[in-house]
């Protein structure tokens, strides 16, 4: 037992030293979880605003494309009516060029609508990834917080099992107890020494 006690005291000091997170750091860590919640909300609102703006820009661009298509159709109708006034040889060439341009405008409009839809989808994906990333950062912090707060977990065990209010209280008790234990050990040792000497006499 005499050999065991100093080892236990050493173990106690080492372990208390290992989980000695300053209370200010623990408080900051808990506050940080709240800051992350605020940041997550802010990013959500920004993402919603960005998506809304992207969808409005897409709608405006699509409306502009419809407008161009209508004006193109009206112009080509007029041109078609005027084809008869052209010289015979030119009528066919102009008609072919006109039809080819109408088809190209139609293909370009379809490709433009598809590109706008892809861009909005990409913006949506990226903003979702940003939101997910901030959420992930909170998870990282929760993992760090679990470590920082682990002394509290230890204290909970102390309260439940050993009926001690805190690690600090137990340390104080142990510090008070140790000199008495050491003193008692010295007294016993002296007593045994005396008894041994008595035997020798």
């Amino acid at each position: 037992m005499q050999r065991l006690l100093p080892r236990m005291a050493l173990t106690l000091c080492l372990l208390l030293g290992a989980c000695g997170t300053p209370p200010e750091v623990k408080q900051l860590s808990m506050a940080q979880i709240g800051y992350f919640d605020a940041a997550i909300r802010a990013v959500e609102l920004q993402s919603e605003a960005l998506l809304l703006a992207a969808q409005q820009i897409r709608s405006q661009a699509e409306a502009r494309i419809v407008e161009i298509e209508k004006s193109s159709l009206a112009r080509n109708k007029t041109l078609a009516l005027e084809l008869s006034s052209l010289e015979g040889g030119r009528q066919e060439a102009v008609a072919e060029e006109m039809l080819s341009k109408v088809a190209r405008v139609s293909r370009t409009a379809a490709a433009a609508r598809s590109k706008l839809a892809r861009d909005v989808a990409m913006i949506e994906r990226k903003t979702q990834a940003l939101r997910g990333f901030i959420g992930k950062l909170k998870q990282v912090h929760l993992a760090l917080d679990a470590y920082l707060q682990s002394e509290q977990a230890g204290e909970r065990v102390l309260r439940d099992v050993l009926k001690q209010p805190s690690v600090q209280r137990l340390l104080t008790t142990a510090n008070e107890l140790l000199p008495r234990v050491t003193g008692t050990m010295d007294e016993i040792k002296a007593l045994i020494g005396d008894l041994n000497r008595g035997d020798e006499l």
Binding site: M1, L5, L12, R58, L130, K136, Y147, L177
Partner: protein, 98 residues
């Protein structure tokens, strides 16, 4: 060339085309229609390009690090348990001796 610069060039071309005689006027304006539609399709180009430049760390790597940190914390809690057990022993030993 920016989108605004492109729009200005297309407007300038359209102005020149309107001065032509038919049927060239309508045919040239048909080419300009196509350019205008392509320009409208670029409406979200800049926003998309900016977002594409944002490089986020790999989420799987973050998850792996979170899992490793949680495991390490668990083993720390086991050490706290060991510490509590050591304290219990110390208390019992002191109680026996005193």
């Amino acid at each position: 060339m920016t989108r605004e610069e492109l729009a200005a060039k297309i407007r300038a071309l359209a102005e020149v085309a309107t001065t032509l005689e038919e049927p060239d006027r309508s045919l040239k304006l048909g080419d300009i229609d196509q350019l205008e539609i392509e320009l409208a399709a670029m409406a979200l180009e800049e926003t998309r390009a900016r977002l594409e430049r944002v490089q986020l760390p790999d989420v799987e790597q973050i998850d792996a690090k979170i899992a490793a940190a949680r495991d390490a914390t668990k083993s720390h809690l086991f050490r706290v348990d060991a510490f509590n057990a050591a304290l219990g022993l110390l208390k019992t030993a002191a109680g026996i001796l005193l």
